[in-house]
Amino acid sequence: MKVSYQWLSDYVDLSDITPHELAEKLTRSGIEVEAVEPRNLGVSHVVVGYVKERSKHPDADRLSVCIVDAGQGEDLQIVCGAANVAQGQKVPVALPGAKLPGGIVIKRSKLRGVESQGMICSAKELGINDKLLAKDQQEGILVLPDEAEVGMDAVTYLGLDDYVLELGLTPNRSDCLSMIGVAYEVAAILGREVKLPRIEVVEDGGENPVTVQIEAKDHCYRYVGRHFTHAQIGSSPQWMKNRLMAAGVRPINNVVDITNYVMLEYGQPLHAFDAAKVANRSIVVRLAEPEEKLVTLDDQERTLDGETLVIADPEKGLAIAGIMGGANSEIVPDTTEIILEAAYFTPRSIRRSARMLGMRTEGCVRWEKGVDQSRVAEAGERAAMLIQQLAKATVSRGVASAVVQQAEPVTIAITLEKINGHLGTSLTAEEVSAIFDRLQFAYEQTGSAWRVTVPTRRGDIALPEDLIEEVARLYGYDNIPTSLPEGETVQGGLTPEQKLRRTIRHHLIGLGMAEAISYALVHPRLNAAVAGLHEGELKPIPLAMPMSEDHSVLRTGLLPSLLETLTYNRNRQNHDLAFFELGHVFLSAEEKLTRLPEERFYLGGVLTGQWVPQNWQGVKQPVDFFLVKGIVESLLSRLGIADAVYRPAADLTGMHPGRTAEVTVNGKKIGFFGQLHPQTEKTYDLEETYVFQFDVAQLAALSTPLINYAPLPKFPAVTRDLALVVDRATPAAALAETIREAAGDLLESLTLFDVYTGERIAADKKSMAFSLVYRHPERTLQDEEVQEVTSRVIQALAEKTGAELRA
């Protein structure tokens, strides 16, 4: 809502408050003023002039030489380049020394040898927005109405000595979609009275021939029709045009302008019909027939449905109620007989129709938020008065009216205790009553209890809490004290799983990875690109109305978008990358969701390029499988998850069949890691890339973060190294398992310290060297014991894995 400061001061005394002060006060009490714009963008010394003569410039085809009376005593000679300048016009004249927006200063000058004592201005040169001007005023100089007084300051004449307050209204304050609503608000803030327009309609015509019938009683509660004859359609007086333009509305003709003006003034959308086009002068408010067609004022044919409310005569539709009039009954220059509609349509009805039709007019905005039912008739009368005055119309006797139901004001009971208890204030009953007075809310007071009757203009107030807000905002939020909750103190904190997520995050960051956060909405193709962790078949979860295909389905795993992150970075010359992400994935097996999908919290990681970059010591270290495994092991160890088993996983989508491991604990799969399939790498335009993905809930279930101290050993350890030759295919884990089993409790630790294949052993063999550390907790081990255990180990290895000691 754009509020003209000058216009507003018609209704409430603003003589001692500047537009900026007013804006601050409004903002601080709940009506946000987003901007205070001066209408004058830098115009001075521009006056109304009269073009007495116009002749062609002797040396320039496109220029005119005008003799202009600008009320300066002497006529001015002004050279003008506009094609539309003509003798007899009233025009804005920038005198020598005048200033125009953009820092332009007008001087006496010679144009092609002819002296020019000023400039005749276009609307644009005066800083007036083209969009607010009629088409014929957008080109050339601005031609003013004949009644403009020569010599008058054009700034005053055009209403540019004004400020516009732009309100950013919250949806509950539709009462401030009108000048009078804003006036009530300002009056409450300043503690002043509201001066409403004095309405006087002289019924100087015949009997009102209009009949009104409401058929759609759920959609329209009230319809009032005034009837006029002998109307003269023409342009509106300048003061009205100025106000409309200040509000951002383009003037059209006097009758249409009046309906707009009163809509801005009262918040009540109105509509005027050319009565001659209304069959029988009979108005029917009904629902449209399915597929009913209506050509609206903007010359578009609209197809309505059976829920759209229309204003019709017995033969045809005349308007889409509350949204736009029909072309068939439009006010045109030769219209003389008018029906003026003032009605109450239900917000739900208009909102639905406006959405269905994709139309959103100024009227719609007000209807959707709800207009004040009690002001319908008053607004109609205000418009009738203006039509009578400005269009010189004759007003027929009587008002055609149909009423389905009336709005009843709400009464709310409230106590001082409740108000202070809710706000933490110590207001007195007098202070609260004074606030109700300022709001012009009627009340009955009994001690420190009130029964407040809320005027229908404030449809947002229905509960005691709503009244408390009114009290609070007029008392001033700044004046509410600060305190802290006084109830029972409770222990705050994170849940174990929340703590675990932080541990994971901090651990991976400590290891050198960067945390990423990506979009949960992805391209449908992405979900299928890399394996997830779910069991069974998934169905995609698409949005009903996505904004783009790239963000049209919910992700089922974290890896696809992390891979896109790698591609994004590589395209920007970032090559050495290690990202992880913690976030939700969304799983459903339903074709169409009937319940919420399963949301799981996953950990995903992607690595590519160099882990340790090239440096002067020459030890760059590319990302590889065992780095990723090291990260995984380190994380699991950090979470206290022992007994992880790593198995080759040859058939995971998007993963390298020979370089992928599935991680299980106690037979349950908790995640996987490995190299991306070369084909997938190619799809994403990546070099060798390694990934991991885990289900965080599983990690949380297995995690044993409690630390149990073990006493330090008192006796020495004995170390034996074994170099074993085995078939190449024998997994290291098989050897380690056999060693552990055979060595029993004496084996304290086992380290694989060398793996060798090459010419010094048979081609189908490899050598693996283990270091075994033995220790007895209660005594020093004897050589013989160590020898015996080691022999047992060697024997077990030979039997179970065919391992031989390397010669």
Binding site: I480, R505, A520, L596, W616
Partner: protein
Amino acid sequence: MQARLQEMKQSALAQISQVADAQALQELRVKYLGKKGELTEILRGMGSLSAEERPIVGQLVNDVREALERALGEKQEELEQAALRAKLASQQIDVTLPGRPVPAGTMHPLSRIIEQIEDIFIGMGFEVAEGPEVELDHFNFEMLNLPKDHPARDMQDSFYITDDILLRTHTSPVQARTMLKKEGRTPVKIICPGKVYRRDDDDATHSHQFTQVEGLVVDKGIRMSDLKGTLLSFARQMFGPNQQIRLRPSFFPFTEPSAEVDIQCVICGGEGCRVCKHTGWIEILGSGMVHPRVLQMAGYDPQEVSGFAFGMGVERIAMLRYGVEDVRHFYTNDVRFLRQFNRG
């Protein structure tokens, strides 16, 4: 014999002083003091001496041995020092060469802010509650006093999956879910961080996915002044001990009264600058007293208990905190962006 000893001593001392390395020194030690060394040889000849001469020569031999040993020891020490000096000199490195790179990770700026917010509220006795990102219309809107045709639904154009299921447009549904789970027990004291989604075109200030932290306190006798005090405490811990907050009346369907909360501009400190549009204040969150209908729907009697709620945008706070100008940076994960958040 005495003369021979003296001569040997002179000659040995001279040789020792000439020695330049440890091996030659050892050879001299063997040559003079070894089992077959010259001094031993002279000692062997002592048998031929008279009884008077013997103690004199004996003394002399001991003197010579001591002198030689001292000379050898000193020389050895000297050589070792020299060797150490030489070794140190040879070990000198260019300390200005860069260190070996150790991978350094970084926390996402949004996570940093969320963890800070969580920690501040945990310190005030809040728990961290969570809820699904795909929500029922019922929880996202209706339980928050936004029935199907409520005009405020325009404020948040939503990503619907079906008529009843959508991506949550705010973290507020967690309020309703938590209260229902508590079955009327008090106090409720939670914050709910999480991702939310709205139908916005991505640009410098809009993102179809963003992050909120919601807060809710429900108990007997909760007042708007408690909301003010809690948020002031938060603002001071988050933005500095001298921060001031300012509440402005506003509207949210799920609170009444409602307030938007400003802090003093973190850029200019309240003097007025471009960021705060010369007002000195910056809006950082929305808040209010929980609407009685919201309490009622969640199983609490608004006559018995009251509450306050607030919600803030994590991206907005991160942008203010770190001076980030484009919200899209948070989701494109350019490593050059992320690596800047590696301190503290």
